[in-house]
């Protein structure tokens, strides 16, 4: 308690200290776990291990990215996914090959979850020729046609219409694929989101709208920006079903994702999943950390961490030993260190790349 109080005080502007922290943390207490579905599905040991490895890879990758940013190797914006790992991993555990993923600018986790190589992602962050966009996209703009990852978009909300368009293509081709369009609680207030909801339901497009409610749009808490903070209800006027999910529990995410994806895949139209999650780090690298208390962040890390939850179950229920965890950690660290090493020494793009990839050559008829 004494520790928490000290941290709280440090986290708020000097003037407000004393009365603001308690209120802020009480108000913005994460609902995720409190509202957890009573019957949380169980995972097999293999599923727990898979989720643990995948989430740990994202966590370590993002920590390394943060460090490399600090060293000046990564420029511009860099939005880290730390804390939200269970969302994309749970979703991917319910999806099939061929299903598409599209998201906003907090996208590194989604790329790794789609199976994109750590080296290629990290080298894009450092702006090198081995990056997924050959160094021309950066943190917010990476794609992989092979892995059905459609970006990586920097305009808040634009990926929702594009994601509906991916769903439209699936509908047009009748190929049984489902598109997953991720966006945040901030993007959920953009107009084109509702235009897309309307058309997706009107045409019964196979798309799952995944709202990653991490409680802050940059520094604005959801209750300061949203008249309706239950984002699962944002599709009600269009008749789109939605549910709130404990986005810190990978099992709950996968369970809800399976329902949503099945709904979309069987021609019933779109589905909304509000993932109640939390971002530990700042919005981007430069973050004043004044809009929420350190206590709140610390409590989420200690009580709801998605990776620690899995680790706990693996220890308790599956009797995984310290050595086995160490082996996994070492393997993950090796992948991340290799990516960082590659991204540090890979050359910058050739200067001739400045003028490539602007237009494609038309095929000769």
């Amino acid at each position: 308690m004494a520790i928490a109080a000290r941290k709280t005080k440090a986290g708020v502007p000097a003037k407000a200290a004393g009365k603001a922290p308690a209120r802020a943390s009480a108000k913005s207490a994460p609902k995720g776990s409190a509202k957890a579905i009573p019957n949380v599905p169980t995972f097999t040991k293999d599923e727990e291990l898979h989720a643990y490895r995948e989430m740990l890879l994202i966590r370590r990758f993002e920590e390394k990215a943060g460090q490399m940013y600090g060293m000046g190797l990564i420029g511009g914006f860099c939005h880290l996914y730390i804390g939200q790992e269970a969302v994309v991993i749970g979703m991917q555990m319910a999806s099939k090959d061929g299903d598409q993923v599209i998201t906003g600018y907090r996208d590194h986790g989604h790329m790794l979850a789609c199976g994109m190589e750590s080296r290629g992602v990290m080298a894009e962050l450092t702006g090198r020729r081995g990056g997924y966009s050959r160094g021309k996209g950066g943190s917010m703009h990476m794609f992989s046609r092979e892995k059905n990852f459609y970006g990586g978009h920097g305009i808040v909300g634009a990926q929702v219409s594009l994601g509906a368009g991916l769903g439209f293509a699936n509908w047009y081709r009748q190929d049984g694929r489902v598109s997953m369009a991720y966006f945040g609680d901030g993007a959920a207030n953009q107009g084109q989101v509702y235009e897309s909801f309307n058309m997706a339901q009107l045409w019964k497009l196979p798309v799952v709208f995944v709202i990653e409610n991490n409680r802050y749009a940059m520094g604005t808490a959801v209750n300061r920006a949203s008249a309706q903070t239950d984002f699962s209800r944002r599709g009600v006027s269009f008749g789109i079903p939605g549910e709130q999910v404990d986005g810190m529990d990978v099992r709950a995410v996968r369970e809800a994702a399976s329902r949503a994806i099945e709904h979309a895949r069987t021609g019933k139209g779109p589905y909304i999943l509000e993932m109640q999650t939390y971002r530990y780090r700042g919005h981007s690298m430069s973050d004043p950390a004044k809009y929420r208390s350190k206590d709140e962040v610390q409590r989420m890390r200690e009580e709801h961490d998605p990776i620690e939850q899995v680790r706990g179950r693996l220890t308790r229920e599956h009797k995984l030993g310290e050595d086995e965890f160490k082996a996994i950690d070492a393997k993950v660290r090796e992948i991340v260190n290799d990516a960082a090493e590659f991204a540090t020494h890979d050359p910058e793009p050739d200067v001739s790349e400045l003028y490539t990839d602007i237009l494609l050559e038309p095929a000769q008829a």
């Binding site: 060293m71 991916l166 047009y172 897309s196 009107l202 910058e348 494609l360």
Partner: protein
Amino acid sequence: MPIDILMPALSPTMEQGKLAKWLKAEGDKIKAGDIIAEIETDKATMEVEAVDEGVLAKILIADGTDNVAVNTPIGVIAADGEDASAAASGAAKAEAPAPKAAAEPEKTAEAPAGPAPAAAPSVPAQAKSYDASSEFPAGAEVVSMTVREALRDAMAEEMRRDADVFVMGEEVAEYQGAYKVTQGLLQEFGARRVIDTPITEHGFAGIGVGAALTGLRPIVEFMTFNFAMQAIDQIINSAAKTLYMSGGQMGCPIVFRGPNGAAARVGAQHSHDYAAWYSNVPGLKVVMPYSASDAKGLLKSAIRDPNPIIFLENEILYGRSFDVPKGDDFTIPIGKAKVVRPGSDVTIVSFGIGMNYALGAAEALAKEGIEAEVIDLRTIRPMDIETVIASVQKTNRCVAVEEGFPQSGVTAEIGMKIMEAAFDYLDAPVARVTGKDVPMPYAANLEKLALPNIGDVVAAAKAVCYR
């Protein structure tokens, strides 16, 4: 090996900051993800998170130190099993090598201090005019049709040719098109390929772009391009830039089409000409045809093109009839201008409905003994400036004509390009005739004043001929 903790940068512009506070003490165990210190600049606060595990062996920079340079070692971590005190003393010596060097990217290519590679071939000393005579095969059978019919036929032919082509937009299906351009398409191709959208430009433009990223070939009709301003973010940020941002992976084969510019008496919000706007954006092609044959041939090329195309039509021209070659194979290449009337005294260059004024002026000038060469650009981006330059090298005079606004207009670009490539050939400054620099008025007399007219072009041509 002991590991240095370096002073991190909060932003690319940060060079130094204050080490506000250590949250760990010497001897503390550190796990990856632990917050170990806080840093402040005038802009923000940042937490330093550990990436490596071990013991904080030594603090090199104390709490509250100002002006700590980025990449300065601020502490040392001893890895598991290492002797912390040995690491601490070892690190003190290891301070000597500049830590910045470790972070310096290996540069194989020289920093582009010299001139960047040329964007496009510059116009050769003696420019060559595009020869459009092969577009109409000799002896080809022609049929007279309106621009509206030509556009419809182009879409229908390409939809028969490629099952990935579809049309979406407001009133394109059951209503048969707000301007009847999509007449009959629903009946032939059905509701899956001819799709009525709600009135929701931003949303359906985004859906079209998303579908195109998967390889489908949408034709997105805007009832007018004025409404496309609601969708311009998707057109520019998503359609035009994604190929580049993806390092060439994600092409976007989409056509955005619809009427553009002034119609008649529809006021300022329905009369805007967007040619200059879209022509400013790399990653787009911008087409603006005048005749029915160009409308058909260029729309077919646009639908087949693997890039996002802005296809600017004109309501007044929809009902105008022209000869069009028969057959499904007729296409016109994008990016090629056409000399529609040869002449020797002055070059008049225009596009779209501007050709009305250009051709009308050429006729009037001929009666006064001035032979104008008239060029229809047809494509605004990429612009076939070489055909224009070839003409200017012959006539030494040029008038550029458009209905759009003067500032940063397409004619401004034409004038600049001529100056860059053919300054020495000019016997007079390039002149331009444009719409007036005012929102389009409604009153009939004022609207007439706001638009260019044949008299303006004649006067400009005479001025550059010093007559």
